[in-house]
């Protein structure tokens, strides 16, 4: 099995450390603030007691922290509701397009009985891995018509990697952490970094199993070339997106890929926020 390189492991490590520290500290802060609020007979009195407690028993800076906590909770709830709604929409779309006959034939042809695959009737070129608990690879009939058997194998290995490591679920959790801690821009940068590596590693998995990068390269080139001619008539500088790192890797699979974790401005801003929060935690309580 291919070993996870150092960079994405580091990104995950820092997301876990910073995310957990901040969330636990914010959570503890909430606990600290509400523990001295008396239980009242109705909600209005509870809220009144909370306001009175904030104004009289805690320094001015603590409401700022409460603002951040509230922001995080709202963002988390928003993400959850959005994901549930989108899941329903997605399921309706896929179920309406699903073709069990084509799916059966495809699985048999490519001998991928262990992989959850679904072929949908769609002339667009679609290959994606979706689903949180039991991820499945969604392929369109347009894709199957467009590419030959070897190229399809390469595509399947790429998507298999995403499915095997439950990347949809990983990405959901990481995105929710990054969104709820949006006041720490470094979190979004680290998640973006990890997401790029997800694609690179999926490509490496495909290259390893195909024994060559040619098939995957042909697929990417076919999909990108047409889009490129249409959308860009002038030189474009290198954009920090997965597509460009994947191209680099396919051009020279032996050269190590270096992806920046974050910009200096992002790091500086996040450090400032973290320092301010820490000072409030240390000096802010009575």
């Amino acid at each position: 099995m291919l070993k996870m390189p150092r960079q994405p492991s580091l990104a995950l490590f820092w997301i876990a450390i910073i995310g957990n520290l901040v969330i636990i500290q914010l959570g503890y802060n909430v606990f600290h603030q509400i523990r001295d609020i008396p239980f009242e007979s109705n909600l209005f009195r509870v809220f009144a007691a909370i306001f009175a407690d904030i104004l009289s028993n805690h320094l001015l800076f603590e409401p700022l922290l409460n603002g951040l906590i509230l922001f995080s909770i709202i963002m988390l709830c928003r993400q959850l509701i959005q994901q549930v709604k989108l899941y329903k929409k997605w399921k309706t779309y896929i179920d309406s397009k699903s073709n069990p006959e084509m799916t059966k034939r495809f699985i048999k042809k490519f001998n991928k009985e262990n992989l959850r695959i679904e072929v949908i009737l769609d002339s667009s070129i679609i290959a994606m891995t979706a689903g949180l608990i039991k991820p499945r690879v969604i392929l369109s009939s347009g894709l199957i018509e467009r590419f030959n058997d070897q190229e399809m194998e390469a595509i399947l290995f790429h998507e298999m990697y995403h499915s095997k490591f439950r990347h949809p679920l990983q990405l959901l959790i990481l995105t929710m952490i990054a969104e709820s801690l949006a006041f720490l821009p470094i979190m979004k940068s680290l998640v973006h970094h990890y997401k790029i590596w997800m694609e690179l590693l999926a490509d490496r998995f495909a290259i390893y199993h195909m024994g060559s990068e040619i098939q995957l390269a042909q697929v990417l080139l076919a999909v990108l070339k047409n889009n490129q001619v249409k959308s860009q008539g002038y030189g474009v500088h290198f954009v920090n997106e997965s597509v460009n790192y994947r191209l680099k890797q396919l051009i020279d699979p032996q050269t190590p890929i270096r992806i920046p974790f974050f910009k200096q401005k992002t790091l500086l801003l996040s450090v400032i926020v973290l320092v301010m929060m820490t000072l409030i935690f240390i000096y802010g309580s009575v």
Binding site: Q83, L86, Y87, K89, W90, Y93, S96, L121, D122, S123, S124, I125, I126, A127, M128, T129, A130, G131, L132, G142, L143, R146, I155, H158, H162, H167, P168, L171, L172, T175, M198, E199, I214, A217, V219, L220, L221, A222, V223, L224, K225, N226, N227, Q228, K230, Q232, G235, V236, H237, F238, V239, E241, S242, V243, N244, R246, L247, K248, L250, I251
Partner: protein
């Protein structure tokens, strides 16, 4: 040319075009260059569509940028040919990005990635280098 409205739950070309638009595009993708009358001849066998309807829809497709007009001859011998701006494969590939960007945007992190994310951000130099590499490998084999 990007289609402005996409009907995600429709099948095939009907996702991007109205019913008659899709039929006309199919004919033109097959034959490449035809006059309105020739397109009408192809379609009326199956569906009994009027020449006026075909003319109107082909005009609309031209306005939307899917067809180009090419007139030749003068006076009574003047002929106007219509041909698709993109071939079918190019059209499907381009619309793929719109559909799947829409899907990914709609379905968020439930989807990890389409086969290729952020197609419009691909570096043209890298594409060229990859193409050159593949050509060299093909020559060697």
């Amino acid at each position: 040319m990007k289609v402005k409205s996409i009907h995600l739950n429709e099948e095939g070309l009907n996702r991007f075009f109205g019913s008659l638009e899709a039929k006309i595009m199919k004919v033109l993708w097959e034959k490449e260059k035809l006059t309105i009358k020739q397109v009408h001849e192809s379609l009326k066998k199956e569906d009994g569509i009027s020449l006026n309807a075909v003319m109107t829809v082909m005009g609309r497709l031209t306005d939307k940028g899917h067809l180009i007009k090419d007139s030749s001859g003068k006076g009574r011998t003047r002929l106007t040919f219509f041909s698709p701006v993109q071939n079918k494969e190019q059209f499907i590939l381009e619309q793929t990005k719109v559909v799947t960007d829409g899907l990914v945007e709609d379905f968020g992190s439930l989807m990890v990635s389409h086969l290729v994310d952020n197609m419009d951000k691909a570096d043209p130099d890298l594409l060229l280098r990859l193409e050159q590499k593949l050509n060299e490998l093909k020559k060697k084999s």
